[in-house]
């Protein structure tokens, strides 16, 4: 989230789309309720289903699952056509005036540079025009046809009201009502916020769905404002933390990235990431990458990391391609993986095409499951009849199942969706011999290190030299680990403007990432978390819930990254003179007298940056402004374009039949063969979650199992009539990959949509059942889903695929 939960109460308009906040984030949703009750706010919900969010909305519009870019592209077209944009904001804080390369083109659904065989783009033409000084050329009059503003206008002119209806199935009147309500927030003193979640991420064009709304919010001038922003509602209690810490194939902590294998030169690796400003005077904050990276390596490798060996750069593995979960399970399915660890994660249940996942796991030599609960994955080798029809005698995988503690049995911190790190305390010991996750990692690591010391083996250096400074090596304490990721001074850290001024003495905890250095004098496990545990102590455990501004900002409750900033890009809450767009919701402002930025939040700007310097608010971008034109940052294009889900109910793309689905998404050969067509599977299947359950955990929890004990699917009344199905009947739902059986719930919540001349039925499939737990056993819903993901993130397309149903 760019903003935070309580800040939602300051919105004038809340849009819930690509998510279902009332059901998935019930206690956070109260702030939408507060906005309606006390701020006269309106709530719009756009969703394939009439969810409980829709039930409390001021306006609901249905949409075909997977067609959100068409809807939002149409919205952009509406805003531009009716001139409902925040003009000053767009002119000053976006790349609207930037000139784009003459080589950039878009024709018939493809951008310039497409390689059909590689299914990827050469993005050289997706670039700005630059002057001899290296800065981007601009036309502030916005007349040049090659400026971003005009190219964007041209691109979305194809998303007419009729086309939007054709692709989304949303009745035009409803689409236009939503457009009108959204357009009202283009004035400086109105703020709209968007709450989205997996309804956007879980599509093969998911990243671009999100980006289209980010463009809308930017055109409206809603980013950086209280009550505005892009509020990504994440799914797990610490999924934000694990993302921040970089536990993904290609990441390092703090959103740094591993090198590609061609990046043999360390300085080259740094230069590519330490982006220099593309416009005069911009902060381009990633310029500081070297200090973040060197400090990380000092944290991990201590004395072994020196300037001479490029801070152990060679010791980090380099990528030839991403090894995301779909890639890994594809390799596993081919017999190319030998071992796997599933720590607090249940891939047999959570990954698409359950049959493929089960076959893959059966080819492993060893599987280690670390979990507080007995999961399906840990027993993938056991026969559970129709729910898991396997022959144990044929599965040679050695499986270890290690009991871990749960949240209540440890101290530590979690990061919620709004970037707040909150500390928690242990309340009781774990059952039996269960151990904490850190202890389990330590136990394994120490054994490995001992073996490498005694026997040697493949490249032991990183293992032997990994810092392990914990008082009890077998049991690293949460406090020690938190202090490590905060960072400390290894030598005295001095003020760059005055070398006699010591900011942090050797051995002291650092106050924040501004104190990080690239010369090996600082260590820091995660630069964005720096400030969480300083010399003052554990800021994550702070419990001052006072809200001095009345805008719901509690700056002394716990600690937010970065630097305890609660609203990101808050410089954009002021005009170019530094005066708040909306004095009622003042976040920060420029004080001409004190010559600094100040306010109720930590300013997201160099404190002494006089507005006359024109330092843009989007400080992480080298341009300093928000990108409407995405240059080379996205896999499938610099402007979002509607592509159909890989299993499309339309058999075409109304915008361009020659390019139906995402041209840049990766599809493995075997999976292409497992895509169904509308002929055999005419209905749109979509998976989702219930309020009473959390994924596959709470079927182990008695109270939750009581409230929702049995697997069901939702179908609309017309489809039910056609198939002779009544509520309570057992039905079979099938996709090309397999079937499930569940109780049918016939509902008004789903309606038939008319899409491109076809009647489209949606089948709703809640995911929460499996063959382990205290609820009634059910089929793993991902038996049905397709093995293909977003072209940028590889997040699987769980939200739109094709199914058919039959009465059992």
């Amino acid at each position: 989230m760019t903003n935070h939960w309580v800040d939602i109460k300051n919105a004038d308009l809340v849009v819930v789309m690509g998510g279902n906040a009332a059901e998935a984030h019930p206690c956070g949703f109260k702030w939408v309720t507060e906005a309606k009750a006390h701020n006269n706010a309106k709530l719009i919900v756009v969703d394939p289903r009439f969810t409980r969010s829709a039930a409390v909305a001021d306006y609901y519009a249905p949409i075909r699952s997977g067609s959100d870019i068409a809807f939002l592209g149409g919205l952009i077209n509406y805003l531009l056509t009716h001139d409902k944009i925040q003009h000053e904001y767009v002119k000053k804080y976006t790349d609207a005036s930037f000139l784009v390369s003459d080589a950039y083109r878009f024709d018939d659904g493809l951008f310039s540079g497409y390689d059909k065989d590689k299914r990827s783009y050469d993005k050289a033409s997706w670039s700005y025009q630059k002057g001899p000084d290296g800065f981007v050329l601009v036309d502030e009059t916005l007349q040049n046809p090659r400026c971003v503003f005009n190219l964007m206008k041209e691109h979305y002119s194809r998303y007419t009201v009729e086309m939007v209806n054709r692709i989304t199935g949303t009745p035009s009147e409803q689409f236009l009502t939503v457009c009108g309500m959204v357009a009202e927030t283009c004035v400086p003193d109105k703020a709209m916020t968007i709450l989205y979640a997996l309804g956007w991420t879980q599509h093969s064009t998911g990243s671009q769905m999100i980006r289209t709304m980010a463009m809308v919010q930017t055109l409206l001038g809603n980013i950086g404002l209280s009550g505005g922003g892009i509020n990504a509602l994440r799914g797990h209690s610490n999924i934000q933390g694990l993302t921040d810490l970089g536990l993904m194939s290609n990441l390092l902590p703090g959103y740094m990235t591993l090198a590609g294998e061609k990046e043999q030169d360390f300085q080259g690796y740094l230069d590519k990431r330490a982006t220099k400003p593309l416009r005069p005077g911009q902060m381009s904050f990633w310029q500081n990458y070297p200090s973040f990276h060197v400090s990380l390596m000092k944290s991990w490798y201590g004395e072994a990391a020196t300037k001479e060996n490029n801070w152990c750069y060679e010791w980090l593995p380099k990528l030839d391609k991403p090894y995301d979960v779909l890639q890994v399970f594809e390799l596993m399915h081919q017999g190319k993986m030998n071992g796997y660890f599933a720590q607090g994660f249940n891939p047999l249940a959570s990954f698409p095409n359950k049959a493929k996942i089960g076959e893959a796991l059966a080819k492993l030599k060893y599987l280690v499951v670390i979990d507080p609960l007995a999961t399906e994955t840990s027993e993938f080798w056991k026969n559970f009849g129709a729910f898991n029809n396997v022959e144990p005698a044929k599965i040679q995988t050695e499986v270890f199942r290690l009991p871990s503690t749960c949240f209540a049995e440890e101290d530590g911190s979690l990061v919620n969706s709004s970037r707040v790190l909150q500390w928690h305390y242990k309340g009781a010991d774990a059952p039996g011999e269960a151990r904490g996750d850190a202890e389990i990692i330590a136990g394994l690591f120490l054994k490995l290190r001992e073996m490498y010391r005694k026997e040697g083996g493949a490249f032991p250096d990183p293992v032997l030299n990994l810092t392990w400074p914990y008082q009890i090596p077998e049991s690293p304490a949460p406090e020690e680990l938190a202090r490590e990721f905060n960072g400390k001074a290894l030598a005295d850290v001095t003020d760059p403007k005055d070398a006699t001024k010591v900011l942090a003495k050797a051995g002291e905890q650092l106050a924040g990432f501004a104190q990080l250095r690239a010369d090996g004098s600082t260590a820091c496990g995660c630069w964005i978390f720096s400030g969480a545990w300083t010399q003052a102590g554990n800021l994550m455990a702070r419990r001052d819930n006072s809200d001095p501004s009345g805008l719901g900002n509690t700056p002394n409750w716990a600690f937010a990254w970065p630097a305890n900033r609660r609203i990101l890009y808050n410089r954009a809450s002021c005009d170019s003179a530094g005066k708040p767009w909306d004095p009622r919701r003042k976040v920060i402002s420029w004080s001409a007298r004190e010559k600094k930025w100040q306010g109720m939040d930590v300013p997201d700007m160099r404190l002494d940056a006089d507005p006359a310097e024109n330092v843009g608010p989007f400080i992480m971008n080298p341009e300093g402004v928000a990108r409407l034109f995405g240059i080379d940052k996205m896999a499938e294009g610099p402007f979002p374009e509607h592509y159909e889900p890989f299993e499309t109910p339309l058999d075409t793309n109304p915008l361009h039949p020659a390019a139906v689905s995402n041209p840049a998404a990766r599809v493995f050969k075997g999976d292409l063969a497992e895509f169904g067509t509308s002929k055999d599977f005419p209905y749109v299947g979509t998976t989702y979650r219930l309020t009473e359950h959390f994924h596959f955990w709470t079927k182990h929890v008695k109270l939750n199992a009581i409230t929702q004990p049995e697997q069901f699917v939702e179908i609309d009344e017309e489809l039910a009539r056609a198939k002779g199905v009544s509520s309570g009947d057992l039905i079979k739902v099938s996709s090309k990959r397999g079937h499930i059986k569940a109780v049918a719930v016939v509902t008004k919540r789903l309606k038939v949509l008319e899409v491109n001349g076809r009647k489209i039925h949606t089948v709703g499939i809640p995911i929460h059942w499996g063959f382990k737990g205290v609820a009634k056993n059910g089929y793993l819903a991902n038996t049905l889903t397709p093995f293909v993901g977003d072209a940028n993130t590889q997040t699987p397309e769980f939200k739109s695929f094709l199914v058919t149903i039959d009465k059992v």
Binding site: G241, W300, W381, A434, G443, L448
Partner: protein, 195 residues
């Protein structure tokens, strides 16, 4: 009225002993019905965060057990933390049922092992588990570690073992996990953020 020995002792233990009626030794049914010991009287409170979604609701866990040596504490009640600025003491059906998660009959108690082709688990010790897993990990890494590609590029990666990390585990545990996994050269590494 019937007063069993058990109910008599219960009444005395619950603090009703100070009531004059009970002191006479004749607790009536009415008196027994009136006062029940407040179940949180002797609990210890610990502040925690709900482990499910990313709202991060504050919770207060109440545990029993006098913290003497050998006394194992047990959580008996979990409620919302009224002081938390976001949830203000409220919990959704998942958070409100957390006690049943802590005490789920599906909780794992000891390390287990399933042999190739077997249809059953056998219990093993932690040391045994760490030793055997470390042997498998080292054997796979030693055999399949790639220091350089065919064209001589230094890559130092290991692709034949992967790791899925837990999005409900703490930052401290996640940080340590990342440190270890990357030191082995692993690239097949993700958490729930991927899906």
């Amino acid at each position: 009225m019937r007063v069993t020995r058990r109910s008599f002792f219960k009444v005395c233990a619950s603090g009703l002993g100070s009531s004059s009626v009970a002191m006479l030794g004749f607790p009536t049914l009415d008196v027994l019905a009136e006062v029940r010991e407040f179940k949180l009287t002797r609990t210890s409170e610990a502040r925690n965060t709900c482990p499910y979604c990313a709202v991060g609701c504050g919770i207060i866990m109440h545990s029993m057990g006098d913290k003497a040596k050998n006394a194992k504490s047990s959580i008996v009640h979990i409620e919302g933390d009224a002081d938390h600025p976001v949830n203000r003491g409220t919990l959704c059906p998942k958070g409100a049922s957390l006690l049943d998660f802590v005490h789920s009959e599906s909780r794992l108690h000891y390390p287990e092992y399933r042999a190739p082709g077997s249809n059953a688990w056998t219990r093993i010790s932690w040391d045994d588990a760490f030793t055997r897993i470390a042997k498998l990990v080292k054997a796979d890494r030693d055999q399949n570690f790639i220091p350089r590609t065919a064209d001589g590029l230094t890559v130092n990666r290991w692709l034949t073992t992967g790791f899925l990390a837990a999005s409900a585990s703490s930052n401290e545990s996640g940080y340590l996990t990342h440190k270890m996994v990357r030191s082995l050269g692993m690239l097949a590494f993700d958490n729930q953020a991927r899906v």
